[in-house]
């Protein structure tokens, strides 16, 4: 049944592309079908009595789709929901653009679904590449600003990252002697098999971290992300920032999970480096986000910044030899929540631009007075993304922070003899904190940073006196409200009841 999640959007693409079926309607029908199918699959997959795997082959290539890995149900949900919302809330400039936007959205959706559900590592990689192609093309053709440069830069960054990643994946598969994640998990858990000597594992994990890290915009490899999101057409930005970017984290967590306790030997060597880099994501890119003057760039950078928390969860998971279930599920929650919230933010940013013809923060003001629904929805998404309780991001972020302190206990107080009790307490604390815990303490400052940029944006765009460009703006149409509310409702649902994703 799972294979239909792939076939339906591709069929729809063919219908639109070759038989000139109406773009938006066909795409919406296809997205609706995958939404229903996906929900069924997730609900069935959650029932323990059903066989969760569904073996299929495609032209002799093993194409086993599975929902057995811990993260893939929520990723599947994210994909189908964001696809539907992106297509529903889309404002294409012309019929032609509408058709190509629909096709690329569906292709990205199909590729992401394939990547998240594949059991075979090579298929997992290939599906992701399939999903990347429309992104480049759409930025190049329909982007904002200097779109050609941005498209090329994105292509080169992601292409190189994919090559590095492929090398790492091949080495990992050869080391483990299998290309199936499920078999890898079984081998690691039952026989304690490891993918090679410590030196080899260092190389493999380095390649994987650089490859996946670039795809997820880890700190020094992040400069492609924000301009690409800012430039891409709204549905593409939603699909890439919301869904496709999670591929890298999904891969890291899946392999760490598959290797079980051995993940510490594989990734542990790079953990300290990773901790420093993710602080770069949270603090450095956070500062960069504050400095942005355009809404779309700000959202793009904020998405890069939030990736830091997910790497934090990964570091905590690796440091605990894969026993930190809270870190895994916290990351699962945050990936889903971040996907929903950033997609919603990009969707609303698109609708703001459609109304005011600008995304410069200084040019807009007082929009909420004219379009209160838009203000409410943007506020909801913004508050979700800065981690307000009752919304899904909070559940994710808070569990990740907590998970970093599970299993940590303060050592005995070192009497530093500094004479001053505060210095004593600080030094004993610093001495007692492990690298992961220390990193959390710094990363928490991200809470303040994210509040600063998000509230500033909301303040500029929606509050204050009404600016000239916001004078005569149409209200939200029914489909626009529906698409954003779908994402908002899920954010609220998972915020109140995060146990649903486990």
């Amino acid at each position: 049944m799972l294979i239909w999640l792939l076939i339906v959007p591709i069929l729809a693409c063919l219908l639109i592309g070759l038989l000139s079926a109406p773009g938006r309607i066909t795409a919406l029908v296809s997205a609706g079908i995958t939404l229903v199918l996906g929900l069924c699959a997730i609900i069935v997959g959650m029932l323990p009595d059903f066989d969760t795997e569904c073996l299929t082959t495609f032209c002799g290539i093993p194409l086993q789709f599975t929902t057995a890995t811990p993260l893939c149900s929520s990723m599947l949900l994210l994909t189908v929901v964001v696809t539907f919302a992106a297509l529903l809330g889309m404002h294409a400039p012309s019929k032609r653009a509408e058709r190509s936007w629909s096709i690329s959205t569906l292709l990205i959706s199909a590729g992401a679904t394939g990547a998240f559900l594949s059991d075979n590592i090579i298929a997992f990689y290939a599906f992701h590449e399939l999903a990347l192609i429309p992104t480049f093309v759409m930025i190049g053709y329909y982007g904002r600003g200097e779109r050609r440069t941005i498209a090329w830069r994105t292509t080169i960054y992601l292409g190189l990252a994919s090559m590095v990643l492929l090398a790492g994946l091949i080495m990992l598969c050869m080391g483990m002697g299998t290309t199936s994640v499920a078999q890898m998990h079984a081998l690691a858990m039952v026989y304690g098999k490891m993918p090679g000597t410590p030196a080899t594992m260092g190389i493999i994990s380095g390649l994987l971290l650089v490859g996946f890290g670039t795809l997820v915009s880890l700190f020094p490899f992040h400069s492609w992300a924000a301009p690409a999101y800012a430039s891409a057409p709204t549905p593409i930005a939603m699909m890439h920032a919301g869904v496709l970017k999670k591929f890298g984290l999904y891969g890291l967590f899946t392999f760490a999970w598959a290797l079980g306790p051995a993940c510490r030997f594989l990734f542990g060597g790079w953990n300290d480096v990773l901790l420093v880099l993710l602080l770069g994501n949270v603090l450095w890119v956070g500062c960069v986000t504050i400095a942005q003057t355009r809404l779309d760039k700000m959202l793009g950078n904020s998405s890069v910044m939030h990736m830091g928390y997910l790497f934090l969860a990964f570091a905590a998971y690796v440091a605990s030899s894969g026993s930190n279930y809270l870190a895994l599920q916290g990351a699962n929650m945050l990936m889903l929540a971040h996907g929903l919230s950033i997609a919603m933010l990009f969707l609303l940013a698109g609708q703001i631009e459609y109304r005011t013809n600008t995304l410069e923060l200084c040019a807009m003001s007082g929009l909420a007075r004219k379009v209160p629904t838009l203000g409410f929805l943007f506020g909801l998404a913004g508050m979700a993304s800065i981690g307000l309780p009752l919304l899904a991001n909070f559940a994710g972020e808070f569990s990740i922070f907590l998970s970093c302190f599970i299993g940590w206990a303060p050592g005995t107080t070192l009497d530093c003899g500094l004479g001053c009790c505060f210095l004593d307490s600080i030094s004993s604390l610093l001495g007692g904190l492990g690298p992961v815990q220390l990193c959390v303490v710094f990363a928490l400052w991200g809470l303040v940073i994210s509040a600063i940029y998000m509230l500033r944006a909301i303040r500029r765009v929606f509050a204050g006196e009404i600016a000239p460009c916001c004078e005569k703006v149409p209200r939200l149409s029914c489909t626009e409200v529906l698409s954003a509310s779908l994402l908002g409702a899920l954010l609220l649902l998972f915020g109140i009841a995060p146990f649903l994703i486990i």
Binding site: I290, Y325, M383, F394, C421, F422, L444
Partner: protein, 616 residues
Amino acid sequence: MLQNLPWLFLVLPLVVAAVDWLFLQRCPRTAACCSITSAAVCFILCLAYLCGMQTGSPSVYEWFPLPSHSLTLGLLMDALSMKMMLVVTGIGLLVHIFSTGYMRGDTSNHSRYFAGLSIFMFSMSCIVLADGLLFTFVGWELVGFSSYILIGHWYDRTSAADAAKKAFITNRVGDFGFLIGILLTLGVFGTLSFSDMAGQQIDPAQSGVLTAVVLCLFCGAVGKSAQFPLHVWLPDAMEGPTPVSALIHAATMVAAGVYMLVRLQVSMGTDAFTPSACVVICTVGAITALLAALMATQQDDIKRVLAYSTLSQLGYMVMAAGMLSGEAAMFHLYTHAWFKALLFLAAGAVIVRCHHEQDIWRMGGLRRRMPLTTLCFLLGTCALVAVPGFSGFFSKEAILTAAWESSIPLFVIGALVAVLTTFYMVRLCLVAFCFTARTESAERAQEADSAMLIPLLILGVMALISGYGFMADTLVPFAGFRAHDFEFGVPFLTGLLALIVGGGLAWFVYGRRQKKLDTDPLASCIFSRALRRRLYIDSFYDKVLIGGIQQWGAAIAHCVDDGVIRRLAGHGTALFVAWCGKLLSKIQCGSLRVYVLVSALGLIVAMILFAFTIIH
């Protein structure tokens, strides 16, 4: 089923808020009714519990269940929390009712306003009833959010929108420390639940870490209770509607920090509060009390005077909590909630009737036009300046006694703050209510209507009697509290002296020169100017922290990110590759003869190598 009745405290306001906001945008009256009903139900429920209703322990909400380390949300229904709930729901209900009068004639969206109040009731109940730091933190963030939307209720006013943003961000700074504290607590105690913490023995060897834990948690209180140096948001928060200031920024939310400290002292035990941590807490409280009282003496806005007074009273409470005298802190919190809510609501009535005039120098003579409101305001003032017999007198007495017993410097500061409190409150009353009206709007003021007067009168009665044993013994949010009979000792005499000195000074400055007074006679002195400018703390933050870090720091980060990482590293790599290509393309000179020569040389080298490897 019945055992889960306490969850109604949370579920009801939350559902009402959602319904108000999402479905009742067009019918503000219905929205107001829903909110008031939910507040009333909570209040009645709370009374029922206080009267001894038993429903068994409420079940725990499995928020994020895991094989190990589940995150659960539970309710703690002890004396501390239930009595605190009475303060919250009681004042909450009165403020809801007052709001209907206050917002009449206002053109903004009332549904959103009442939804905000309901969210606040929900989140404050989370903090009060939480059985664990996780739930506390949930409520902690949400009260910040509700305060954000209520301060920014009139968001098209630039000042309100800025104040809302400032409040939220400043609170987030405090929450940064609070969250670290929560995480460290998990490490030290192995649990976040208050009831599990209570039974634990504390290893004396861990005092250093414990100090850090307590101080980090205290950071949260510094943010939420607006203690120095994060006090700057509270005066600005007065941009919100006045009932909101009364409920959130005077009576309940800002007291949450104090409540949390006392809750920690009860659950972790006072041993966990190491002497060094206590010193810091007391000092911060004392500094806040003193600075805020000083600044209050020179404010012209009636709400700002009250806001600084709130700051200074919160400083008192934090000081008491730091002296490990949770009893005194909670007693003062409880009396302060009633009389400060009264003061704010009375000020709100005055503001509405003076057509949104807030400058006290443009009021005057209100006692003749609004006699009942003036009476209520006077009752509140008497309680605040601790006139013997009023509620504030007993609680301030308790704090001063605790200070007298623990440290003389703190006692001196406490006494000084008492003098200043009397000074600025008498100044406020004299200027705003006595003499003759200075402007037309004050001239035409009328008595408030019944929706506003009834809550005022109820609060007035509470301000008068809530300090006496028959009320306090059952209602002060502290287990086994006994209102002590005041003793004729140093603290009592000091309090009395402070009253006389402060009142006398204010009368000397503002009372004598009756009619001519249109501006503050002290305004020209340098010290007063500094106080008016809030001792330059706000402008320091604006220039140095916000201007410096937010703009310069962010700009530098942006430039470096764009310049170094993107251009230098990104484009640099591209240029390097291109340069290498250029260099290597030099070999391709295009001359056939050179190619032949090179290949011939290569052949020769290969032959030599070949020959030598064969021979040797």
